[in-house]
Amino acid sequence: MNLPITLTGIVEGALAPLGLQGLTPLVVYLLDALIILLLLIMPVVTILIWLLRKMLGFIQRRLGPMRVGPFGVLQTIADAVKLFHKEDLFPANADRVVFALAPFLVFVPAVLVYVVIPFGQGDGFVTKDLSVGLVYLTAVTSISAIGIITAGWSSDNKWSLLGGLRSAAQLVSYELPMTLALLGPPLMAGTLSLSGIVAAQQSVWFVVPQALGFLIYFIAALAEIAHLPFDLPEAESELVAGYNVEYSGMRFGLFFLGEFANSFTICLVATVLFLGGWHLPFLGGLPLTSWQTGLATVATMALLGGGIWYLNWRRAGWTSATRWHWLGYVSAAILAAIVLVAGLVGFISVVITLVKTSLLVFVLMWLRGTLPRVRVDQLMSFGWKALVPLGLVNFLALAFQAATGIPTGWVLNLLFFVFVGWLLLFAWRKRWAYSAVS
């Protein structure tokens, strides 16, 4: 980051008269975390929830939220405000302390993960590039399981208890294949630092040599965040709402937000570890200089905003929807101004990371709109009998490759690609046969 005034400088200047310069790094980290939380995660989660509801709406032939703000963008905020108004209920026989703490145990880890995620190129886009980033990541994401189990237990409700028990079994089981899959990228990159792993993907994204690992990670992570088809802990039609059935108000809201933050997190981690982070395909990193980046961003934004508005206008004419077109231009102009004024080299890299993440989030929503829920025994047998052995084979092949240089990992993935190809062919032919009959 080549800002003329740095955050560290400001903090140091403010603390120096008090003789507290020693605290500068701590304060800077805290402020960094706060800025990331307020400026990045909250808006991202808000937009994500809106996007999810819109996407589900389109899949289900509805409009989704339309009333609050342009296209209903502010619906999530309205919901949160509503939740704040609600009474904070405690069941009569609940374990009050545990009950009160459980939502934070779910929400806080979901946010803590962002500390080590490199959103873009350069030190300015990662709060703390830990050398053991991946270990930190797996450790922190496991905490939310405790939150869910305690929430289920402390509610003193039989349905919550069942939900809590389910999540205990599920989260512990799927931790294993997820971690096995996560071990692949550091084996190739030779580092546990997430920035290092992204840097190592400059020539080829890890999804190519580790497609199987990517798939295992993605499926296991779906189970880990209790997303459909693995949303058993809160199975609405079976356990009413599972572990969070007794929660109301913002405590429920924290579960809700934590869930969405988690679905963003797993996509972000997948992007960083397997999809090359901020690297563009075939370009091998960012060849552009600062002002070229800025210009390219402005052009992209203007084209995108203008294009979207034009399509809307062509379709609907001068309606309530197109009346909001100025918002697109204003936001594009603000973004462009930020890019030009600050001259952030890595800004576009953040955009690339977020675009890739959004594509994965779209897959998540697609799944949510398509799949039914599996049963608890099917979930368990799939985890232990399919994902864990596959994850082990994948890990051993990659480890052998890293140790000896014999390309066992590549061979395994080639086999995997052939298998997927055969599967697709089979599905296509079955589909064809089906349409020929009916």
């Binding site: 289900q60 039989k158 028990l165 609405e236 039609s237 709109g369 829920r373 049963r375 099917q378």
Partner: protein, 400 residues
Amino acid sequence: MATETKQTSEPDGVLRLGGPGLAAEPTGDIHEIETDHLEVSMGPQHPSTHGVLRLKVKLDGEWVTEVQPEIGYLHRGVEKIAENRTYFQFLTITDRLDYVAAMACNAAYAVAVEKLAGLTVPPRAELCRVIVQELDRIASHLVSVGTYGLDLGATSPFIYAFRDRETILDLLEMVCGARLTYSYIRVGGVARDLPEGEWRTRFRQFLDEFPPMLDEQDTLLSENEIFLLRTRGVGVLPPEVAVNYGTSGPVLRGSGVAYDVRRSKPYGLYPQLDFNVVTRPTGDCLARYQVRVEEMRQSVKILRQCDQLLDEIPPGEVLAKGARGVKPAAGEAYASVESPRGEMGVYLISDGSNKPYRLKWRSPSFVNLSVLSAIGRGWKVADLVAIIGSIDPVFGDVDR
């Protein structure tokens, strides 16, 4: 995946069925660990009990060891109300029984009173009855199939089902002005003839557009591997048990018994119409689902024939003479129709006045639901939800 169904003879000599979980009795050392069964109350406020059903469920972990339906939360004393209404007046109450398929309720009551009083329904009215009943059957099965997806966690099929149901409700609204409580089929005929012009066009359009839409929506579920995992081999109801419990409709036909009131005890125009009685041999949740989907296709087949008959049977009288103040001679009669849920029968006793002396409503949902405690044991909680959904009870009809 466990698919076998176990049968056990209890001390009282009653044959009981159940899923693989019945084998989960702990043996040997595990007795040393003190475990307890969890008794939960599923409903009456529960998203998957399709109304105000309460199930007393005993759980061993996730396994259901005992399930006992508790009903009556929606009891309104309909049979008693009938004794204080004239034969013609009571019809509007029947709408409130099976509110998902009110046309069948209207028809069941009307057919019974006509049998009791010896009324002859004009042919045009018979045609109108078949058309609205089959349209209503499709609408009801769409609700059933759509919410079944919802029970299993798939939200989209529900929306697609309700899209098509909306078209039917629009058609029925044009016919009688109501979307749910039709009161269209009256004692002695129907309220008025089907509208001409735009209604006919939209009706034909529906017949053309619906089958591909049904295929699309069916694909969402029946080609989904998870859906098949959740339904195939689950909640198996053997044919002899289905018959012993007196089940009817898709629940019975899903067990391979070809009993359909439209064929077995023909009424109205049905003997003239060509359609198949859909059965599936397996008796599991998937079979019951498939029977419903296939029945919608058969209903379209019936409606296509009715579309031709609309041109052949000229418009005319649609209500028998003397139907309004009908006063049957003392006696009794039982008549039934095939509602989307099975045999919906009405038993009437007349003492010669203009009000029924006694009315007994044989509701298919009630009888079908009784089988739940037999087949619900030994499955997981999630399977129990799948089984209830496949039985498809409607609580206005169960509790009466």
